[in-house]
């Protein structure tokens, strides 16, 4: 029983950064912008988040630093793709390359340092309920925040007028522009939201997951978040399922390694990446013909006048 509880707790912890980053990217992509720089924004978010928390001693300050760093990088992306109409794929790659370097530079000062990670919720009685107590009432704030975030995004996209306009920009930017909506300004906000989420997701890693910063600690999570958005068919509900499924795969392979079944650890470590490829293939296959992707995803928009 305790093992099951431990596994579920660690699955939730491993899924949370994926969920936060993918939530941001979902909104960005729903608006028609493909930002492949999630990995870069995450890793800089991790470095700045740790730096902020280490210098100030406060997890909240750290998280804010991560959010700011992610947003700042997403502004560079927005300047390139929205103002200068540069190819989004190439710009996203540039952002990841830049982010990897920047995070190493920023993080160099505090590699080897430790902080106390974010505290877990503790409500007397409730948290003590066997099995469910710690899972439901004993998480750190990021886990609850990630769920609030995705519910908020669902509500925004499907229940508000602004959400409808945002989706319209993603599905047909020419019509949205013709109706008088400021497509580029809306996209700028969507890109910034994506950046803020990616930064927060990155900051989660050193603030709640492990108590230290190591260069390259995101280990491709940004890319997996991008794959999750495809997996979810750009729908918030499925995104939650996908994120927890992927978290489960990465945790189960760790436990399998620990249990010492005769498979080399490298093969188990490759599982999350292979699973991503397989899932992308299976999902894209079932959807042949009618794609669910936002129709203008990844295309440049230069308003004519």
């Amino acid at each position: 029983m305790e093992l099951v509880e431990a596994i579920i707790l660690s699955v939730l912890a491993a899924s949370t950064p994926l969920l936060i980053a993918a939530t941001g990217e979902l909104v960005t992509e729903r608006c028609g912008v493909l930002n492949l720089g999630v990995e870069g924004m995450m890793i800089v978010g991790a470095a700045c988040g740790f730096g902020g928390a280490w210098a100030s001693g406060s997890i909240v300050v750290g998280a804010l630093c991560g959010v700011l760093a992610g947003t700042a990088l997403s502004l560079i992306f927005a300047l390139m793709t929205l103002v200068l109409a540069v190819n989004q794929v190439a710009t996203g790659l540039a952002l990841t390359i830049l982010g990897t370097g920047l995070s190493g530079l920023i993080g160099a000062g505090f590699v080897g340092q430790r902080i106390t990670t974010a505290p877990h919720l503790h409500i007397p009685l409730l948290t003590n309920i066997p099995l469910l107590g710690r899972i439901v009432f004993g998480e750190d704030a990021f886990v609850y925040l990630s769920l609030a975030l995705i519910i908020g995004v669902w509500w925004f996209l499907y229940r508000t007028r602004s959400g409808l306009i945002l989706r319209a920009c993603g599905d047909n930017h020419v019509s949205a522009h013709a109706l008088g909506y400021p497509v580029l300004r809306i996209r700028l906000l969507a890109v910034m939201f994506g950046g803020a989420c990616a930064g927060l997701a990155g900051a989660y890693l050193p603030l709640a997951y492990t108590p230290f910063f190591i260069p390259g600690m995101t280990a491709g999570r940004g890319w997996i978040a991008l794959a999750l958005v495809v997996f979810s068919s750009w729908r918030p509900g499925r995104l939650v399922v996908g994120a927890y499924l992927f978290g489960a795969v990465s945790i189960l392979q760790l436990h399998a390694q620990g249990a010492g079944i005769g498979i080399p650890s490298q093969f188990m470590s490759a599982l999350p990446y292979l699973a991503t490829v397989i899932v992308l293939v299976l999902l894209s296959r079932t959807r042949r013909g009618g794609s669910t992707a936002p129709a203008t995803l990844g295309t440049v928009f230069v308003p004519d006048r």
């Binding site: 560079i76 390139m80 109409a85 370097g101 495809v230 080399p264 490298q266 293939v281 296959r285 308003p303």
Partner: protein, 361 residues
């Protein structure tokens, strides 16, 4: 008054020529600011980065050695990008090529195998790289899965496979438990061009690749098809060009070149298989491809330039204690500026007064 971006009637040739230079100039300016922030003398630092490596023979050879994989991979990637196929997993294809070629080297180790070993290794590297690149290409063509994500995921898989091999079955029994294979036999090693130097046969192969790409892109139907499919997909469809076929082809070529670069790197400058054989050549090659404007000659120049930053970065770390990550920041910023400057080939900024806008609209 308002500043707006508008499409040029014709692509600007002047800007096409000078844009890489402007991009480099802006990058150097940005780097100077970064050096000041790091508390270093910017002129001194730029000197160590970009001038010092050009002043002695050893570094010059080292630049050519580093440029070799960059140019080979970037040539392959440029074909993909021209055809609008996004292979960003060249790093993985490089690693798989290195693994496949090393397999022959490891199996023939200590035997009296003749001079067929090296050619066989190079062939194995190229074939394995091509096959590995065909996985994301097939997933895209057959199932419609994004080749960007699948090709990147396979980088991590290749990295782990290499790690497993050098820590497990291929580990050198006399290697004090270090994760490496034994040094390759002389017949399994890429020969150096100058006795006692670092420059090796691979650099000549890279030049050959550049020349072939120049001919293929400029003088063959295949090159024409690649460019049309990328630039005008609708026109390509009307002309009966098969886009799927070209995705497979360009991925296979770029995978083969990356694989070849990988095995040349392992059988040449490194001499054995170990983790970390590439300081991200597969990713830097993306920058090389764009900086060289997806043109073979341009890529050759861009490859040499980025190789210079690797060497300069290492020297700056030793002499000025500038962190190695500065090189990566430099490369990222450079790619941003290149892309931004290229935008002005197609577009231009114009001041429009709001009233005129309303009058026309």
């Amino acid at each position: 008054m308002q500043l707006v971006l508008e499409k040029r009637l014709e692509q600007s040739r002047t800007i096409a020529l000078v844009s890489p230079l402007i991009a480099i100039a802006l990058t150097l300016l940005t780097m100077s600011i970064l050096f000041v922030l790091l508390g270093k003398n910017p002129l001194l630092a730029l000197g160590v980065y970009f001038i010092d490596p050009l002043t002695d023979g050893y570094s010059l050879q080292e630049i050519a050695v580093k440029a070799t994989p960059l140019v080979m991979i970037a040539i392959g990637l440029s074909l993909c990008y021209l055809a609008n196929a996004w292979n960003i997993g060249a790093e993985g294809q490089l690693l798989i090529g290195a693994v496949a070629g090393s397999w022959i080297a490891v199996k023939t180790q200590g035997t009296d195998a003749g001079h067929w070993v090296l050619p066989a290794m190079l062939l194995a590297g190229a074939v394995a790289g091509a096959l590995y690149a065909l996985i994301p290409a097939l997933c895209r063509v057959k199932f419609g899965a994004s080749e960007i994500l699948t090709s990147l995921m396979l980088v991590y898989v290749a990295d782990l496979l290499l790690d497993y091999l050098v820590r497990g079955p291929w580990r050198d029994p006399a290697g004090f438990n270090f994760p490496t294979t034994a040094e390759f036999d002389p017949v399994a090693t890429v020969p150096v061009l100058i006795e006692g130097g670092r420059l090796h046969l691979g650099s000549l192969i890279a030049l050959l690749v550049v020349a072939s790409a120049f001919v293929v892109l400029g003088r063959t139907i295949m090159g024409f098809e690649i460019r049309v499919v990328g630039a005008a997909p609708r026109a390509a469809r009307f002309a009966g060009f098969n886009a799927d076929h070209l995705i497979l082809l360009t991925f296979a070529i770029s995978g083969a070149l990356a694989g070849l670069a990988g095995i040349i790197e392992v059988a040449g400058p490194i001499g054995h298989l170990q983790p970390g054989i590439s300081p991200g050549y597969g990713f830097t090659a993306i920058i090389v491809a764009f900086l060289g404007r997806l043109n073979p000659v341009g890529i050759l120049i861009a490859g040499l330039f980025l190789a210079l930053t690797f060497i300069g970065g290492e020297q700056a770390q030793i002499t000025m204690k500038i962190p190695l990550d500065v090189t990566k920041v430099f490369q990222g910023i450079l790619l941003f500026y290149v892309l931004a400057c290229d935008s002005f080939i197609l577009y231009r900024f114009r001041l429009v007064s709001r009233q005129v806008t309303h009058g026309i609209g």
